[in-house]
């Protein structure tokens, strides 16, 4: 159930239609899956679908935090850099303190940077675009200072086996992504914090006048976003066994694209994790499908750009008069 389920719809069919209108990305996803299934025999295989889910999970985990921040009407451009720092710390500190303390500190770094972003946004009144743009550059610099421009190697390769758990074709990484998405959808739809998120993004004055502590609220969501970026960085370091200083570069853009593709509104107040999952999967399917078809890299980018604009046009058409 999306938070915004339209109650006026009566019959089950009507409610399915109205759900699809608000979550049109799933229609779009079904369409892309159909096209690629017809175009390539390798696409619709259990193995490949499992791969897509794993590939989607990284951007997906970032997108969950981004969705929280974006429903608030804010944005976090620093997630790619936070991811790189967390992954560098999780690997680099293992020599000094062992695997799990290092992983914990990596997570903590993400939470701390998210908290810092949120505090700056909430207290300075600057737009989060500027604050986190500063974060994007500054934190990336910090990663290079820490790692000295080289990829850090994991001391013990058993670290890379941690995520090698599968449920059928579905990897642990993908499971974590879905679990987090479900958790945060529940937060959005069933907790006070979730209601506050919509209220703040939708009409910040009304939220403030209703006595919601807008500053504290925003700090919490930025902290969630930073922490999830660190989760993503740590999973990436486990998968690769190395921490590259350039890891996650421009991933913040793919993340924003996935969230917007899903239908979450950039101005805030509207969106859900179901939409974001749809956006993330669509993006992953497109990338995977185009690669299976041996599309040259630059053509892939052109197609992705065109699809993004197309999806947004579709959004406008379908929700004409529905979403102001």
């Amino acid at each position: 159930m999306s938070q915004a389920t339209d109650i006026r719809a009566g019959s089950p069919l009507q409610s399915v239609v109205s759900w699809l209108l608000r979550n049109h990305i799933w229609v779009f996803l079904a369409l892309t899956v159909t096209v690629f299934s017809l175009a390539s025999p390798y696409f619709l295989t259990v193995n490949n679908l499992g791969n897509i889910l794993t590939q989607a999970a990284f951007i997906g985990i970032l997108a969950i935090g981004m969705t929280m921040v974006m429903i608030d009407g804010e944005i976090d451009l620093s997630v790619g850099a936070v991811l790189a720092l967390a992954s560098a710390l999780a690997i680099g500190l293992q020599d000094h303190m062992g695997v799990w303390p290092a992983v914990f500190l990596g997570l903590l770094s993400g939470a701390a940077l998210g908290f810092l972003n949120g505090t700056l946004v909430a207290l300075s009144g600057m737009h989060s675009f500027i604050v986190t743009l500063g974060g994007l550059i500054g934190i990336r610099g910090l990663v290079f200072v820490y790692s000295g421009e080289n990829a850090l190697m994991v001391p013990d390769f058993s670290y890379t086996e941690i995520p090698e758990i599968y449920l059928g074709p579905i990897s642990l990484t993908a499971i974590i992504f879905f679990a987090l998405a479900v958790l945060f959808q529940w937060v959005l739809s069933s907790t006070r914090h979730g209601r506050e998120t919509y209220a703040v993004g939708d009409n910040i004055e009304a939220a403030h006048d209703a006595g919601i502590n807008v500053r504290r609220h925003k700090i919490i969501n930025f902290t969630i976003c930073g922490t999830l970026a660190a989760v993503c960085g740590i999973l990436l370091s486990m998968r690769l066994g190395t921490a590259e200083p350039n890891a996650g570069k421009i991933w913040e853009l793919w993340t924003i694209i996935a969230v917007v593709l899903g239908g979450t509104r950039l101005q805030g107040g509207f969106g859900s994790m179901w939409m974001t999952i749809g956006g993330v999967l669509t993006l992953a399917v497109l990338r995977n499908g185009l690669r299976l078809l041996n599309t040259p890299n630059y053509v892939e980018l052109m197609v992705m750009g065109a699809v993004l604009v197309l999806a947004l046009v579709l959004d406008k058409l379908l929700n004409h008069g529905e979403v102001p």
Binding site: S190, R192, G194, R195, D202, A206, D209, A210
Partner: protein, 502 residues
């Protein structure tokens, strides 16, 4: 009268940098009374209600609530204590449901912050039923009309068992029927012993619904009077320090030749067979209730809308129905009702706003002639006595009245022959209103033809030489001279409605 007041304010002061917004303000609200708070913009009404609703902390004085001195810690605290503010700009989240909005920020949750959805829904339902709202708790607020959204805010009064409800300009965007429903609701609250503070610029409403009136001027209370013992004249005098007679200035009735004549103008569904004319030096009033088709008629004359039928004569010569550009070039000016949406670029200063529609007059080969622009700005600033710190102060920082003067300045500097003013004083304070009225008289005396559309009967009667009454898209009567009275206008408009209904 002096039973225990539900809320007493004693000697409240509040200072902002450079302004004493509230200066030793005292007043009280009895249970079951509707208490009007009136005053010009900047008199301190908004500050006072924000203090009561916990949005501002007063610098001094005390609030005695239900017999005990009380600190209002914040908006949520105020609501939980039972003091509720209903904002002019509705304070709702369009994407959330009705139930979620009623309890905005105070949703019932368990101690881990998980919503109790069933309880939320049930309580909201009960509040809506008590008010007799025609919609359920699950509807998304964004899909409701403004009046229904206002009911959602009022439902908070039920939900929080409010003892004091403050209405800030509640009828600003309501139709007449919706207004009647609102008044019905207010009377219901009143019967249940709720104390109501009613803030409005509309005097007829204040005399209609309130029991007492407190007048504020420059942050000080000018006095509190029983509504039944006073009249408009006296209240206005308290507000602006002069009488109502000086408040309307009518131009001398010296008319020149005809400027515009309209014959049989029709547009299906909007208005039918409208004919009239206006002369140089004449102020023609167009009165009618909202939805009578007044704005649509003038928009059609100006060329914003296309007519189905009708003939236009400009200076006694037949013309085709013009486009807006042609209208402006002929010497017609239309000052629209919604100045923020249509009238002004809020981030620009007065200088740039004034010259905006006539950039060609102020430029050579596309390069702006700033000295000429400045000279025109200064001319209108002093002619209309606009209060602004300088030519580049963003108009968003000005009061509604001063913004409206810039809208006028912008059209006047093209030197029009006919100026059409659609609700020129809506939502602005009494002082600015009378400045606009003086300006209308002045324009007419300088030989312009003026058409004024207004929903405020005293205004239409006060400034016009001749008034057309419109109802349901038709001109139903025309009055001038001694026949210009409220009774005649009311008769004309309501009689026609009665016929149409029968």
């Amino acid at each position: 009268m002096m039973e225990a007041a539900i809320l007493k304010v004693r000697g409240i002061t509040k200072t902002f940098p450079g302004v004493k917004a509230l200066d030793d303000v005292s007043f009280d609200i009895q249970p079951g009374e509707v208490h009007a708070l009136v005053g010009e913009n900047g008199a301190g009404k908004s500050t006072l209600m924000k203090v009561l609703a916990g949005l501002y902390k007063p610098d001094g004085g005390e609030i005695v609530y239900q017999g005990a001195p009380t600190q209002v810690a914040g908006p949520l605290d105020a609501r939980q204590k039972g003091i509720l503010l209903i904002h002019q700009e509705l304070s709702l989240s369009p994407e959330l449901s009705v139930a979620e909005n009623i309890y905005l920020g105070a949703w019932p949750t368990n101690r881990f912050g998980v919503l109790k959805k069933r309880e939320l829904r049930r309580n909201a339902s009960a509040a809506l039923d008590a008010l007799g709202c025609g919609f359920g708790p699950d509807v998304r607020v964004g899909t409701l009309s403004v009046a229904m959204q206002q009911m959602v805010e009022i439902a908070r009064a039920e939900a929080f068992s409010a003892n004091v409800v403050i209405f800030d300009e509640p009828t600003a965007s309501l139709t007449d029927t919706e207004k009647d429903q609102l008044f019905h609701t207010i009377r219901g609250l009143k019967e249940r012993g709720v104390g109501i503070v009613y803030i409005s610029h509309k005097m007829d409403e204040i005399f209609d619904i309130t029991d007492r009136i407190t007048v504020l001027r420059d942050g000080q209370v000018q006095g509190t009077v029983d509504t039944c013992d006073t009249d408009l004249n006296r209240v206005t005098r308290m507000m602006i320090g002069r009488t109502l007679d000086a408040y309307f200035v009518k131009a001398k009735a010296e008319f020149g030749s005809e400027v515009l004549r309209v014959e049989g103008l029709s547009k299906s569904g909007l208005f039918d067979d409208v004919s009239f004319s206006v002369k140089e030096g004449e102020v023609l009033g167009l009165y009618g209730l909202v939805g009578a088709g007044r704005s649509e008629v003038v928009e059609t004359i100006f060329g914003v809308r296309r007519a189905d039928a009708g003939r236009l004569f400009w200076k006694e010569g037949r013309i085709d129905l013009p486009t807006p550009r042609q209208s402006i070039d002929m010497g017609m000016a239309l000052v629209p009702e919604s100045r923020k949406e249509q009238g002004l670029v809020l981030m620009m200063g007065g200088r740039e706003n004034t010259s905006l529609p006539h950039l060609r007059l102020f430029s050579e080969v596309s390069i702006m002639n700033k000295p000429r622009e400045l000279a025109v700005f200064e001319k209108y600033r002093s002619a209309l006595s606009i209060k602004t710190t300088g030519p580049d102060q963003a108009v968003s920082q000005l009061s509604g009245g001063n913004q409206q003067k810039f809208v006028l300045a912008k059209w006047l500097c093209a030197d029009p022959k006919l100026i059409i003013l659609d609700e020129p004083t809506r939502g602005i304070d009494v002082g600015s209103k009378s400045a606009i009225h003086e300006l209308i008289a002045d324009l007419a005396e300088r030989g312009l033809a003026v058409i004024v559309i207004s929903s405020e009967m005293p205004e239409v009667l006060g400034v016009s030489h001749r008034v057309l009454a419109m109802s349901e898209g038709a001109v139903v009567a025309e009055f001038e001279g001694d026949a210009l009275t409220e009774e005649h206008l009311i008769d004309a408009v309501s009689h026609h409605r009665g016929e149409a209904a029968a």
